[in-house]
Symmetry: C2
Subunit: 191 residues, 2 copies
Amino acid sequence: MTTNVSPLPDSAKRVFKGEIFEIWQWPQQMYDGSTHTFERVKRPNTVQVIAVIGDQILVQEQQQPDRSRPYFSFPGGRCDAEEQPLKSAQRELLEETGLTSSDWELWSERRPVTKMEWIIYTYIARNCVKEKEPRLDAGEKITNRLINFNEFLRLPDDPDFYDSWMAIMLVKAQHNPAAADKLRRQLFQKV
Amino acid sequence: MTTNVSPLPDSAKRVFKGEIFEIWQWPQQMYDGSTHTFERVKRPNTVQVIAVIGDQILVQEQQQPDRSRPYFSFPGGRCDAEEQPLKSAQRELLEETGLTSSDWELWSERRPVTKMEWIIYTYIARNCVKEKEPRLDAGEKITNRLINFNEFLRLPDDPDFYDSWMAIMLVKAQHNPAAADKLRRQLFQKV
């Protein structure tokens, strides 16, 4: 949820580049005048899509090779280099579900870890329609499933639900009818 | 919140070691039989302490050299190598607040980022007493403040509140008197 982190300073240098992660370092002046080497991880930004079909929402039951049991998620993935996040969201939705939409809204843009250069963009894609069959990567085992609005609000009851920002929104909406109405309008109606 | 991640496999090798972060890689067999290089970040585990004094809870208004504005947090920091998390929690509480307690409980142990070997341990320290004056690091500007239980429940109303797991707990307790009572007992009474 942290959003008040300064950008990487101009003096920061990349000291490692791996498959996904990079390490950046810079000399940081401390409050007592001394200087320490500060360090951050950089990784590709990611997108996720709340795809709305009629009065239902698409969730994915997903397995990955290095995780011990399936978990719920939303369509999405990494932004390619230089790719605008909306384009990434549209590409991932089409690849993983075969769906398209002409009504997109950026719901949230957040940085989950202070010491990590990594932004998660969450989009709502309203009135989705099927364009083709999904095409999955070798590392993906995904079952797409439709749930209704009340089931959506209950996703954080699963202790493995991974999106803390959304969990807070959904728990608030579980308990606050005005917040639930607002969220329902945002998902199912044009704004 | 993710807890269902497999441990680093035996074949994982450290390919970079920085000031805080390490990068580990291993060959991962995919569902189609192909092999890809998988990667994770490793960093020291961290502790945080909910310190209870009488019927109040200690929060810190904190500034750090690479953050643009102050934020609320709890006493805590990194576990030193081989240090047990309870020892780290007791050490950090004493350094940052001068407080000690003889009544500790591990409230939560969680892994916030799937691709990161990093556990956050959250402790409750009940009936804290002042032992000495705080001693701060060069990178820390911290003001200790006491808040009451209702103010504690309202911490997630601040969009910069950084602990998503706790935010979900506190939002539930804001709306659910039974959850609030349970939390109040856990913080203020011996169990």
